[in-house]
Each structure stands twice: as C-alpha cells, then as structure tokens.
Symmetry: C2
Subunit: 165 residues, 2 copies
DNA sequence: TCTTATTGGTTGCATGAGCAACGGTTTCTG
DNA sequence: CAGAAACCGTTGCTCATGCAACCAATAAGA
C-alpha cells in the first residue's frame, strides 16, 4: 500500500483519495477510539454507548431530564429513552416526575449508578490520557480548538436552512 | 448552559466533563460530518455509508477484492459483502471471479457506477473544502497530522495484545 | 496424496439506532 | 374558557451492523 507510483488513469477522475478525505479520516479515528473505549464500559460494566453517555451526563450534572441528555449527548430522544429504561431496570438511575411540569421526568443516578460512574470516570480519563499521550500538551490544546471550530461550522452547515416553519 | 459557576460537589468525583472528553468530541464531530455528507450520497444517490466507501475505493483503484476494500475502509467483511451485493443488484459494480484464486472476486465499477462516482466525487470534495474552509491551510495540514498520529496510536492500543494464538 | 489449517466471502441471528406515530401535559390564542 | 399547537417521552417498525458459524477454495504438512 506504500508506493502507489504507477499513475494510470487517476488524473481523469477528480482526485478523491479516501485516506486523505477528512470526513472519512474523522470517522475512522472516532470508530477506533469508540471501540477501544467501549471495551472498558461494555466489557466491564455492560453499558452501551448511549447508556454510557447517560451515566456520564448524570454523573456530571446530578439531575437532568431526558431531553437535556439527548441534546447534550447528540442522541435521539428514542435512543435516550431506551437507554434510560434499561438503566432504570438495572437500578442504576432513578426517575421522578417533575411536579412543576409533569410532562418531563427528572433523572438521577442511584448510589449504585454513581458507584459505577465513579469507578468508570477515572478509567475513561486515563484512557483519554493514554490516547492523547502521543501529542504534546500544545498539540492537544490545538486539536481541541480545531475540533471545536469544525464542529461549530459543521453544525451551521447542517442547520443551514432551518428558520421558522 | 454557559456559566457553570456554582461549584457544588463536582470536586468529589473525578473531573470528567463530557464536552471536553476527546473520544466524545471526536464522535460528535464525526457524526456531524457523516450526516451532512450522507445528505449528498444518500439523498441524491441512495448510497449507504458502506456503499459509498466501496464506490469511492473502486473509483480510486479500479479493481479490488472485497477483502481489500474492507481493510481499506475499516469495515467488517460482512458489511462489505452486503454493500457489494446491493451495489451489484443496482448494476453499479460488477464482480468477476479471479481465475488464479477462485476464492476471491475482483470487483469493479460498471459504467453506470463510474458515472455516479464521477458525479459524486467532486461534490464530496467540495463538501470537504467547505467544511475545512474555517481552518487555514496550515491548520488543515496540522489537523491531518494530528489525526494520523492519534489513529496510529489508537490502533496500537487496540491491537496491543495480539501475538500468536 | 490425503489430511488439516487458512483464507475469501456469504448468511442467520441478535442487537442497536432512527423515524414516525401516539398519549398525556402544558402553553398559546381566539 | 375552549380549541389548537407545541412539547416530553414511549413504542412499533424497519433497517443497518457486528458476530459467529458456515461453504468453497487454496495452501501447508505428514
């Protein structure tokens, strides 16, 4: 896969090279890290990605509604709903109707759930650290800002034409 | 969501803040770009992500086996298999057994398939350009190298203990 | 050569995610 | 105050995806 010296007809078609294509590379990297991380929270705690995000969000904010979590984790509300149900069944989170607005429910970790979070969070952080250890502190900072810039821009591209209905 | 000034009990638990967590940010960004890009090749050409990757790979390399494509696109062979079947049904790619080794099949775009590729590739590239346009040329270069470093490292973390069985 | 191990690719199965339609609740408007 | 509209969350449906078992073909070893 190294050389690729014989030119052939590549000049005819526009020069789309998958390995250099940004969205593709981002996806590959995201998959790699997701899968590696999943080995921690799936294998060790039986959490799916959505479930992990719910736990992480509640660990961080104590009490949130499902809607908040969905927005925060960029997930569909149905995805969150199912993750919440399964977490509740396993006794990791508790739901309590909001008396002020009974459409929504306030979610929070149970002690058991918080136990998992507190055991999981350091492992997640150490994984992140290990992952980022190939970059200097400066590079890490920079990467962060580049990701943020791109994310903001991508969001604006997607929601481009979305005024009032 | 802006301030977050009240400290509360955040100090007790390890400081895992989802919005700052690298794997999470990578996933969000990858999803955003994937979805935006999918609007091009899904809405306009009815291609799934795997299908799009197959087409892109074949557009780039003319003739490859399914195995090559899987490795190249970081996909499961079953995923590739199904994408290939569907593309073949739609007359976009052709398969021909390799006479030298009849286990494998050589895949290539049909004229119709190449037509799609040639119409799609420039749009994909222009999307990429538009996406990356918030970054300077330098930043783009840098981002690329950071992604590569991280990807290599993540791969090495995953395949860490994988010697001989 | 005959047996055994590997390899490329397909398929059945179970899981997970998105969409859309729905029920129950609150808010807006006439 | 009544009806319409918006909103939160759930659920049925469909489809995509990963895994593992499997078939066919080749390579390796006795």
């Amino acid at each position: 896969m190294a050389s690729r010296s014989t030119a052939k007809k590549e000049a005819l078609t526009p020069h789309l090279v998958l390995e250099r294509f940004l969205p593709y590379r981002l996806n590959v990297l995201a998959s790699l890290t997701s899968n590696a991380l999943a080995q921690i929270y799936a294998d060790r705690f039986g959490l799916s990605i959505p479930a992990w995000r719910v736990v992480a969000t509640l660990g961080q904010y104590d009490v949130r509604t499902a809607r908040d979590i969905a927005a925060h984790g960029v997930m569909h509300k149905s995805t969150v709903s199912r993750a919440v149900s399964s977490l509740e069944e396993r006794g990791l989170i508790a739901r309590r109707p909001n008396e002020d607005d009974r459409r929504e429910e306030l979610l929070a970790l149970t002690p058991a759930g918080r136990g998992i979070y507190e055991s999981l969070a350091p492992q997640a952080l150490s994984f992140e650290e290990q992952l980022a250890s190939v970059l200097t502190a400066q590079e890490q900072e920079l990467l962060g800002s580049l990701i943020d810039k791109l994310s903001r821009h991508a969001r604006s591209l997607t929601h481009e034409g979305e005024g009032e209905p």
